[in-house]
Symmetry: C2
Subunit: 282 residues, 2 copies
């Protein structure tokens, strides 16, 4: 039975949101809704316009026999700015201060509403690039990696500091945590990443960059390619960072344990996003 336009629009919206960066052939929708190809094309035009108006990203239609439609999640600069300012305000809350000048973040990184936006923001940066997987290190980076992977439509893989019998054979690297000067080890299951994969690295926090550098070294052991690095928050760091080219959503400038004050700024994310969006329009 032919499905009405209103019902098609609702179901297609849901389908595209659920299958980002996956080429869906027009005949698939033709069959799903018992509707003409021309009607489906019109539907997609309406969805493309509505997604664009709300800054949800780009719905791209490819003509021809191998063609179809593909949804690339995106975000508008105003929506991104508003969210990052909200997060900066929350990070600066002195109630987060823990002994030793650490910050409690589990409420933010355990909130699926925030994680959805964080994932969308990070994914939007890589919308024009080939990505096969998202990588992080256990434990705090996992929710971010999962959310980003969801918007990029690829798997996420987790490096670990402690070997688990349920991971099978692993590849390991040693790395130096620049902030503590200690040598540590991280491992990644051999099965989890295929040779030559294009990988985005994400983590919750970066200080000296040693952990990220360790993940990068792991990638090299897999002959994998680094697409980019994004962290939720970087902290200011006196000394030479082990990683130069990265994106941060937020920057913790100072944690003053005497006055209980936390100074937070936006990271370099918005600059990177604008650069990506500008290059696509050219």
């Amino acid at each position: 039975m032919k499905v009405k336009r209103s019902d098609r629009l609702i179901d297609m919206t849901n389908f595209l949101l659920d299958h980002p960066r996956q080429l869906v052939s027009l005949p698939f929708f033709v069959k799903r809704y018992s509707s003409a190809k021309s009607s489906i094309s019109e539907d997609l035009g309406i969805i493309k316009r509505a997604f664009k108006a709300r800054g949800l990203g780009n719905v791209q239609t490819l003509p021809g026999a191998a063609g179809g439609v593909e949804y690339f999640p995106g975000v508008s600069v105003p929506v991104a700015t508003e969210f990052l300012e909200l997060m900066a305000g929350k990070l600066a809350d002195k109630e987060r201060l823990l002994p030793g000048g650490y910050l409690y973040l589990s409420d933010l990184l355990g909130n699926p509403n925030y994680l959805k936006v964080i994932g969308r923001l990070i994914a939007a940066q890589y919308s024009g690039q080939k990505v096969d997987a998202v990588m992080t290190v256990a434990t705090k980076g996992i929710p971010i990696a999962q959310s980003v992977a969801g918007y990029l439509g690829v798997p996420f893989v987790i490096a670990r500091r402690d070997a688990k019998i349920t991971e099978g054979a692993t590849v390991s690297v040693n790395y130096v945590s620049a902030s503590s000067d200690r040598i540590q080890k991280m491992e990644l299951s051999k099965r989890s990443l295929s040779e030559g994969a294009h990988v985005v690295i994400v983590d919750d926090f970066m200080k000296g960059g040693g952990t990220i550098r360790g993940m990068h070294d792991l990638l090299k052991e897999f002959q994998a390619h680094l697409v980019g690095i994004t962290v939720f928050a970087e902290t200011s760091f006196k000394g030479q960072r082990l990683i130069q080219d990265y994106t941060s959503l937020l920057k913790i400038v100072e944690i003053n344990t005497q006055t209980d004050q936390i100074e937070v700024q936006l990271g370099n994310y918005l600059d990177k996003l604008v650069a990506v969006q500008t290059s696509k329009q050219e």
Copy 2:
């Protein structure tokens, strides 16, 4: 400027999917689309019907001044059955067998497409109940907890076997792993759960039930209420299980390391889902 019906339907679909179990007032949409309340009501009627037809769950409208619309994610029995059979087939793949009779699962639980369905399935079970948080234990349960929490619109909290300085003060319990008879400890940050919270417990795997029992004991320390327990896979276990009332999506009946055969059945999930759906219709 007034927004057209087609554009409203697309944006509302996205909005409701992104804000499950959150009451949205009709005036919010009236303002967002500069449209009459009667038009918004009609839109919601169309969305309700379309979601129901695809088994996406229930769009509930509440009349009156305090009213509005709320989306409860759900799943149809055929969609759930098809997915669980797909997972059962994948679990029975002998390539997963690791030394010691362990199974490699990271590919399944690192795939955001599968995680979305797993989260939807588990959330659908609790759609009629008050839930304040989802709880799991690090590390493998995290992706499941995050996905379920996303569909329930609540935070997830992570118990840990190793204390972290970034968690602040914690509450800890000892628990006995029934499969290994070893006493272990797990901790939960005091900040992560408020007293009296209603909590769903999830994990990737259950054998003797000791770990789940540990989480249940932690809940008691927080004066929190257990809403339900769901695991991705249970394994058959000779002896007395420490947990009786739980849901499993899958059941690993036997792992034969001699013949490299893994026997997998569906768990009790479908029975539970049917019971929930039947009770709601009464």
